[in-house]
């Protein structure tokens, strides 16, 4: 099954955000505290990945006197819950738009507009898994991040 979510296709952005927040509440209960919830909202509102210091800045601009660990803790929590993903290439974070169904995500990063799309679960039976098995290497988690140009940015 192929599932794609992300900024390169038209979709109802507001409802998509609402749904993701509702799912987050469900998953976390009252562990989704004010700061964590606010950070998740920020990520959901932004199609470009946000760095920890971007998040920090936004918190501060809202009156929150926050230090770096505040942003990192909130982001780490969201990632641990599967509500957000870290994009290694960018040292930045995006919200997961379908936390329920997201075991091994892959990402398409546009180097021109910086938007990031999350694509369907990565293969458990691909060449990598086969190679790992042959070596006796036990894979726990795989980072897959493709860089290139999104449809919009291909025609300057």
């Amino acid at each position: 099954m192929m599932v794609i979510s992300g900024p390169f296709e038209r979709h109802d952005h507001a409802s998509c955000r609402t749904r993701a927040l509702a799912q987050a509440e469900e998953v976390c209960g009252d562990r989704l505290t004010a700061v964590r919830r606010r950070v998740l909202e920020m990520l959901l509102e932004s199609h470009v990945a946000l760095g920890a210091y971007d998040v920090l800045e936004r918190l501060r601009s809202e009156g929150h006197r926050a230090q770096p660990p505040v942003a990192y803790r909130a982001l780490d929590f969201l990632v641990a819950q599967g509500l957000a993903h870290r994009i290694e290439r960018l040292n930045a974070f995006i919200a997961c738009h379908r936390p329920a169904d997201c075991e091994a995500p892959a990402f398409l990063i546009c180097r021109a507009c910086n938007r990031v799309a999350e694509t369907g679960n990565a293969p458990k039976r691909g060449a990598l898994a086969r190679d790992a098995r042959a070596l006796g290497f036990e894979i726990e988690e795989t980072v897959i991040e493709a860089q290139g140009l999104c449809p919009t940015c291909q025609t300057p």
Copy 2:
């Protein structure tokens, strides 16, 4: 075709290094300057990925009065020539053991011993490529990094 090189299998390490250096000379000619060559050797000697500051420290311990840009420049050069790879998860670098045949590498990173194996070229026809095509996204480069436990570290 599946090709695997790396620290999780027995191999003739010395000759493997010699061969890689010879290939580097071939590719670069006299652009493989002393520092660049030395840094490549360091990477070839180490099966764990080296951070830029690890490299810097080694250069300094050899009497070279180097500043951070020296390490970064050498590493950037090696990566640009396909002689080394950057491991995003680790903010660190490893030598490529087969620069000639290395278009879309993937990596297996052991979280216990920190060694990194490079596996055969990643698929151009996998699920990711298919998804990207469906979206009209043009992939230029893909990072694939799996973390887990190597055979040795699975039995504590």
